[in-house]
């Protein structure tokens, strides 16, 4: 028994309707596939982004906000962590790397973050080209920053639209001296400078115990606390003086610092020497004036929320799939009325009932299988483009892939489709032959 000649004829006979069926199934499957693939891509992308940030220490506040500010470089105003904390971590035997993350400035759409050469090296696993910054006039750029080594740029205070609007230049020019390897994280579009540069540009002391660095700076909103400790003098000729000043300090960045002269920073990132060290560090730095946590904890919580949103969307996708299945089943049942006569004739010519069953079941199943496979591809394409847009927006590399869960989703749809295909097959299988033959 080979019902395929009949199956192929049926596929060709109502081909517009059949294409419509396939498209409907494909879209229904694509929605589900797209949602799961996208959700997983977000998880993987964010986990990768957080990979190098073992422990974050900051002034007490929302952990999510701190993660957004540091790992994802989505800046908002935060309280500063007292400078002493960094000083105490530098010599802590449990610590491999302790680096400040000082943000607030930008160049075009790229965040400028003040940190240390070690952290840049760790983040990028060695630079792609050039070298780390050696003084406060140098900068290292992420792989996606459209500058080249030797280029100069002028940092602007603030971020994005705000920075554009206010157009508050610091009047400082920095030189690109190194470029990081691509990391697939938002840091690919960041510019990293010595933390001393950020302090200096905002007229704060740089922790190096060198005379009076107390420039007035009326716009550094995040730094208000610190400002109060300094006298507000000499507003005039701020820029010129700064230039002079740079040349004085550029020969020395990094430790040793004078702990008392260290300004506050928005956050510290710590790479511990061991897992045990990570836990003791975390508890030691959970104080009245500081909070310490593993970003992974925050991500887990974010995944939970993402998962909830995903569940809702998946439920909606499932609902639409159910509707599509019901609509197609109804349409096929209606279509079967047109096929009654044909199958009655085949039975008169000697076809067994099972031939009728096999032909209709195969016909519906082929539509389901083609639709589901098409939906898998369509879902992948949609997730790819959403990921690409997301990557362009955030710099976080998202790689939407088709994996087990998408395959099982499409597989489940196919399975249900194959089972439901038995309904019209069975209905026509049961149909009395003679009745259909008579109704010419």
């Amino acid at each position: 028994m080979n019902p395929f000649p009949i199956v192929m004829a049926s596929l060709r006979r109502h081909w517009i309707m059949n294409i419509l069926f396939v498209l409907l199934i494909a879209v229904a499957v694509a929605i589900g596939v797209g949602i799961t693939a996208q959700e997983r891509a977000l998880r993987q992308g964010s986990a990768q982004a957080a990979d190098k940030f073992d422990i974050l220490i900051a002034a007490p506040g929302s952990h999510t906000e701190i993660v957004m500010n540091t790992i994802f470089l989505q800046h908002s105003a935060v309280n500063l962590l007292d400078g002493q904390y960094w000083a105490s971590l530098i010599d802590d035997p449990r610590v491999k790397i302790a680096a400040p993350l000082a943000f607030g400035d930008s160049w075009q759409d790229h965040s400028i973050v003040g940190s240390t050469p070690q952290f840049v090296d760790y983040l990028s696993d060695g630079l792609a080209t050039g070298h780390v910054f050696e003084n406060i006039e140098q900068a290292v750029i992420g792989a996606a920053v459209p500058l080249e080594i030797g280029d100069e740029f002028e940092p602007v205070h603030g971020q994005g639209a705000e920075a554009e609007l206010e157009h508050h230049h610091h009047g400082v020019h920095l030189e690109v001296v190194g470029k990081m390897n691509p990391t697939g994280t938002p840091w690919d579009s960041a510019i990293i400078v010595a933390v001393e540069q950020v302090w200096d540009i905002h007229a704060l002391p740089t922790g190096h115990d060198e005379d009076d660095h107390d420039h007035e700076h009326d716009d550094a909103t995040e730094h208000h606390d610190e400002h109060e400790d300094h006298d507000h003098g000499e507003t005039a000729e701020h820029h010129d003086e700064e230039h002079e000043h740079d040349h004085e300090v550029m020969d020395h960045i990094g430790p040793p610092f004078d702990a008392d002269a260290l300004p506050g920073v928005p956050a510290l990132v710590v790479r511990p020497k061991s897992v045990a060290a990570a836990y003791t560090l975390r508890s030691d730095f959970r104080t009245e004036h500081s909070t310490a946590f593993f970003p992974a904890e925050v991500l887990v919580e974010m995944y939970r929320l993402l998962g909830n949103a995903g569940s809702v969307m998946r439920a909606m996708a499932l609902g639409s799939q159910g509707l599509v299945v019901a609509a197609i089943l109804a349409a096929i049942l209606a279509l079967m009325q047109l096929y009654r006569k044909q199958f009655a004739v085949l039975r008169a010519l000697g076809a067994p009932r099972s031939y009728v069953f096999g032909a209709i079941w195969s016909y519906v199943s082929i539509l389901v299988v083609i639709g589901a496979i098409g939906g898998l591809g369509l879902g992948w394409l949609v997730a790819q483009s959403v990921s690409a847009i997301f990557t362009a927006e955030t710099g976080m590399a998202l790689q939407a892939t088709i994996s087990r869960s998408e395959l099982s989703l499409a597989g489940g749809f196919i399975l249900i489709g194959l089972i439901l295909a038995t309904v019209p097959a069975f209905l026509l299988y049961r149909r009395p032959v003679v009745e259909a033959l008579r109704n010419s």
Binding site: M1, G350, A351, Y355
Partner: protein, 253 residues
């Protein structure tokens, strides 16, 4: 055109004794009754009827007299309320459905008023459709036979699209399809009713050319020209056989 009956099926299914050529063609009906509703008057009541191998039988009668019902009964598509239908000592009313399907596939070629070809496949594929009921693959011999059959019925364009054929050609393709397994019995229900006069004539020629000592042709028709060419005419009215004439059509003409 009598060459058609010489086209015997290669490796024909001899496992089925019912399809055995030697015994084919003898139909004996006893005490047959068909009622669609319980306690209703029978749509067809036939105390006895016998048809011999090689006969060419025409069935006529007004609409609703039970002609089609009789064809469905003797082909096993319809089960009688009562009675026996013996083809070669096999009572087909006692066969299981699967056995009946197999018997019909090998023993009966059905021709319909409206051809019922599949437009989406070629005439050749149409003729080969019954071959897909039994096996997965269609042998080269069967394919060749389908070709030959199309030649014999005068539709040699094996690759032309079926819907492009004239109605007369379509009915001849349907006749070729009925002949694929070289069945000993041909049943036709109003084979010319959907054709114009010229096409009717050709279709009737083709149909009657199938008759021979080993092939029985039974056709229901309103068409006088068709009925007049039958050697035996059964007239039905209100479910009863009211006339059974055997004659020599040549003499009649």
């Amino acid at each position: 055109m009598s060459a058609l009956s010489d086209l015997s099926m290669p490796n024909s299914k001899s496992s089925s004794s019912m399809a055995d050529q030697n015994a084919a063609g003898l139909l004996r009906i006893t005490d047959l009754e068909l009622c669609y509703q319980k306690n209703a008057a029978p749509v067809l009541a036939l105390p006895t009827l016998a048809i011999n191998r090689g006969e060419v039988v025409g069935i006529s009668g007004p609409s609703g007299s039970g002609k089609s019902s009789l064809l469905y009964l003797i082909s096993g598509l319809l089960r009688p309320t009562r009675g026996q239908i013996n083809w070669n000592d096999t009572d087909i009313t006692k066969l299981s459905e699967g056995a009946c399907d197999r018997w019909r596939r090998q023993s009966i070629g059905f021709v319909f008023q409206d051809f019922h070809l599949i437009d989406e496949v070629s005439p050749l594929e149409n003729v080969l459709i019954p071959a897909s009921f039994a096996g997965w693959r269609i042998s080269a011999d069967t394919r060749q036979r389908a070709h030959d059959l199309l030649d014999q019925v005068g539709v040699p364009m094996a690759r032309k699209s079926t819907s492009d054929l004239s109605r007369g050609e379509q009915q001849r393709v349907a006749i070729a399809r009925a002949l694929l397994f070289d069945p000993p019995i041909i049943l036709a229900d109003e084979p010319t009713a959907s054709l114009d006069d010229a096409a009717s004539l050709v279709a009737a020629d083709t149909l009657f050319s199938l008759a021979g000592p080993n092939r029985t042709v039974i056709t229901v028709s309103h068409d006088r020209d068709v009925i007049d060419r039958c050697k035996r005419i059964l007239k039905f009215d209100k479910g009863h056989l009211v006339d059974d004439v055997s004659r020599n059509p040549a003499e009649d003409a």
